[in-house]
């Protein structure tokens, strides 16, 4: 495993107690209802929240180890994080944002081209749509060439159509990458589509039964309705 984490953190309503792992080139989707602790987990991986106990290791680099007193700041973890809503720098253009932490300017241009942002490169974030802003946020994250990519419900504020287009684009581009991706969502369809592995989190702990309940067809559903559901899901993917 390339990324492994054992995390414990007491919150106001429950204690987060999870173990997770993700291989290079794979996407781990954290799914769960709102307020289940998914964002806190991903923030602990990023170094923005300190776990009470645990260990986070990426390859041979220890990001956090409570027993040894290791806690690398976010700057030293060399990861990228796409936030739940837009966190682009308002004073920069889209190109300035995408290239903010990039080393290879050529790659920035290629990424902007892939996400259809070349024409908008000189616009400021407030001058483009929500979908374009999130495309730029993903560009910024990938252009950094991170060791680990974290995405926290990156498309949840967008309309259904834009969300579907963006997750297709994201899947296409992350499939070519070799680093682990951790993707947080409360949308089961999205989790199943994006993730190679899906980890259901409820009240801070892994709850596989919740996942089964949520994906099971309703009792008494006839064969026709079941087929329609399957087609709907297939379309959604």
């Amino acid at each position: 495993m390339c990324l492994t984490a054992v995390l414990k953190k007491k919150t106001k309503f429950f204690t987060i107690d999870v173990e997770l792992s993700c291989r290079d080139g794979q996407t781990l989707a954290l799914i769960g209802p709102s307020g289940s602790g998914k964002t806190t987990i991903i923030r602990m991986l990023a170094g923005l929240v300190t776990p009470d106990e645990g260990r986070i290791v990426y390859r041979d680099r220890v990001f956090f180890d409570s027993a040894r007193g290791v806690n690398l700041p976010p700057q030293k973890r060399k990861l990228s994080y796409v936030f739940q809503d837009y966190s682009l720098f308002p004073h920069q253009t889209l190109h300035g944002n995408a290239a903010f932490a990039a080393r290879d300017r050529g790659e920035v241009d290629a990424l902007m081209d892939f996400f259809g942002l070349t024409e908008l490169r000189d616009r400021k974030p407030h001058e483009v749509s929500g979908g374009e802003r999130q495309r730029c946020a993903v560009c910024q994250a990938l252009a950094r060439n991170p060791h680990l990519l974290l995405l926290d419900e990156p498309f949840s504020a967008l309309d259904v159509v834009t969300r579907r287009i963006l997750r297709n684009e994201l899947k296409k581009i992350t499939e070519k990458r070799t680093f682990p991706v951790v993707y947080v969502t409360h949308d089961v369809t999205e989790a199943l589509f994006i993730g190679n592995t899906v980890l259901p989190i409820v009240a801070g702990s892994v709850d596989r039964e919740w996942m089964e309940r949520i994906t099971a067809p309703a009792a008494g559903t006839d064969a026709g309705t079941k087929a329609a559901r399957t087609t709907k899901l297939a379309l959604a993917y």
């Binding site: 170094g47 923005l48 936030f83 720098f89 308002p90 004073h91």
Partner: protein, 216 residues
Amino acid sequence: MELLPLYLSAKLAAIATVILIAVAAPLAYLLTNGSWPGKSFVEALLNLPIALPPTVIGFYLLFVLGPKGSVGRMWEALFGGPLLFTFTGIVVASIFYSLPFAIQPIKASFEKIDPRLKESAYVLGLSPLATFFRVIIPNSVNGIAAAAILVFLHTMGAFGVVLMVGGSIAGETRVASIAIYEAVESMQYEKAWALSLAFIPIGYGFLLLVNRLTRK
């Protein structure tokens, strides 16, 4: 109209403003950043000039900047001349006097910045210092400009502190506010009127600019 006091006031305000912004911006950032031991004590100390009468501040500064005071002694040792009753002395006094008026609006402007921008910068590998210069400052330009204008106007109108520390030496420390006071004292009302009227368009123009900047 005698222009020298107005020129001195503008020169004093301009120099003090540049220094104040450079000093106040990092201090405001420290005060905005989380909680650290003694933060509220430091903040109250920095804001003290707001709560004290200018003559009281001037009285204390008279001793601190004087030849027996810590700052005055150090200054004489470094530059060989006194601080009291000099233009440099009133610049130093104005900085102490106007510091909270620079810190407060800059701090308010820093507090308006979405904290996720700072987190985003950290995750992208920027140190706290680089984040300050590449993210915080560029996103607070209007707030900093508004603070600069307010501090400039505040220093332009300074009277008690400047009189205590600088006295009234023509061409050196006799700024417009002191010249107006002296003109009234010696019943030269025409001179007092001319200098006083000059303050109205300057103040009004700058305040309009502040409104424009803070509205954005």
